[in-house]
Amino acid sequence: MLRLQNIHTGYGDIAVLKNISLHVSRGEIVTLIGANGAGKTTLLNTICGLVRARSGSIVYNDRPVTDCSADQIVRLGISQVPEGRQIFAPLSVLDNLRLGAYTRAREWGKKKVQERIEQMYALFPRLQERAQQYAGTLSGGEQQMLAIARALMADPCLLVLDEPSMGLAPLVIAEIFKAVARLRDERKTTIFLVEQNARTALKYADRGYVIETGKIMLEGRSDDLLNNREVQRAYLGRQKQPIWE
């Protein structure tokens, strides 16, 4: 569904992504794990058209999208839930959701947008209670739900999430991840998830990639990665034990 080939990206003189290749197939949950500054967000922003790739290609549904602008990408069916939520704080929850359907509003009409909003309320009932509140007054977990719902409003085939667990309590994280897993199971939405919280991400994902200083170091099935000694040491907090022999 989505395939990146030999992507190089950078800001100014600094190369951030070096020769990144990865793919996401329809109906999968794929996660990208890595430490701070490894290039995770840059990679997502390259996919979503916010950052231009210097070389390499991105193909989505057999269509080259390397040079598409951010709003074209959304129209094509890739929505991003940005890092740190980035909801529109001075607007109401309802307006945030409506803006999520900005690209579809004309073709859908008011009624279908409203239906879509109802579906989001079904997914996150807490948003319905807060519909008229300013988005900035929501708690961190509610803001994350709103950010996900806002991205889903555009009816994406591929949902890209940037660190949905950031700054949230463990119980809330579990709630959010369950909602994400349900999205895949019930709506067949494909999910590409970027996380520092490797354990949780790998628990819910089918496959994973490990990124380190702009390069993909490892890839594999989630279970294999969870059992990989290197991943355990670097990302899961396993004590490094000296090996005799």
Binding site: G49, L50, D71
Partner: protein
């Protein structure tokens, strides 16, 4: 004239003047919110509004309402064209460079207006009767009420646009967080274009209603932009309500200053107010402290 009637007289003159400053300040704010740019060509939109209106309604003899609509549309087109030719082609330019471009734009507009209309001063008939109305011993031109009415209409239209339409909300989303706005699929560049068109339209309206009272010539824009800028800063950059309050305040102060001190200091008053604000309350009258620290300017 008694002192009371003098006060009423200055108050109304000041409000009329202030309404124009408020409209210019609103134009500043709309572009500032969408892009972070201070558009110093804003005053030129006012000048163009006045002169195009004179050309259409006096020279060509079009009926007032038609000439009004065509003028606003024409100046909007100029604003949009300016954005497409001077702002749009640049890739991620620093804000300061963009501001200097708008200064250049203002000089070009002024020069073109001088070539087209010459250095003559033009007048426009009042919208309704020119017979002054007596209020508490002061004489007030009916055009004053037109000016105040148009300010009210512009404010109402903007409030409706930003609070009740999807496009207006998208514009607010852009000014709050352009990255998130493009991630929900809002074409930020188109919003920037729209902001220039809307600002130009407001400028044109200000020019049209203002010209009957004070006449219009090619180089009026610079001073209006400066006063409008003072109002925008006084109200807190980007703050719509602040712009209106501050615009009216500067107009009234100027009118009282000219009346009671000396008309020679008329233009100095707005600048004095600007300096005071920048020293005492840099975020503007209606600002909340934290917001102003995060702004580039």
């Amino acid at each position: 004239m008694s002192i009371e009637s003098q006060i009423v007289q200055f108050l109304f003159t000041g409000i009329a003047l202030g309404s124009i400053y408020a409209m210019v300040a609103l134009g500043f704010n709309i572009i500032y919110n969408a892009t972070g740019i201070l558009n110093f060509a804003q005053g030129e939109f006012v000048m163009l509004g006045g002169l195009v209106m004179v050309w259409l309604s006096v020279t060509l003899g079009l009926p007032m309402p038609l000439a009004f609509a065509v003028t606003v549309a024409a100046v909007m087109a100029v604003g949009a064209l300016f954005e497409r030719l001077a702002i749009y082609p640049l890739k991620k330019p620093p804000v300061l460079i963009l501001i200097i471009i708008t200064l250049a734009g203002s000089i070009i507009f002024k020069g073109s207006a001088m070539l087209l209309w010459g250095k003559k001063t033009y007048s426009l008939p009042h919208f309704s009767s020119e017979q002054p109305i007596a209020v508490l011993g002061a004489t007030i031109l009916p055009q004053t009420f037109w000016i105040i009415g148009f300010l009210a209409a512009v404010v109402a239209a903007l409030a409706l646009f930003f609070n009740c339409t999807m496009l207006g909300k998208a514009m607010r989303a852009c000014s709050f967080n352009p990255t998130a706005a493009s991630l929900v699929g809002i074409n930020v560049k188109r919003i920037v274009l729209l902001s220039f068109a809307v600002s130009a339209a407001i400028g044109a309206i200000a020019g049209i209603v203002f010209t009957p009272v004070v006449l219009m010539e090619y180089d009026r824009g610079t001073m209006l932009a400066l006063k409008g800028f003072c109002a925008a800063v006084l109200g807190g950059l980007g703050n719509g309500a602040g712009a209106v309050v501050a615009g009216l305040l500067i107009g009234i102060l100027e009118s009282f200053g000219a009346g009671f001190i000396s008309s020679a200091y008329k233009d100095a008053i707005a600048l004095l107010v600007l300096l005071l604000v920048l020293v005492v309350r840099p975020g503007g009258l209606l600002s909340r402290g934290e917001a102003s620290r995060l702004k580039d300017f």
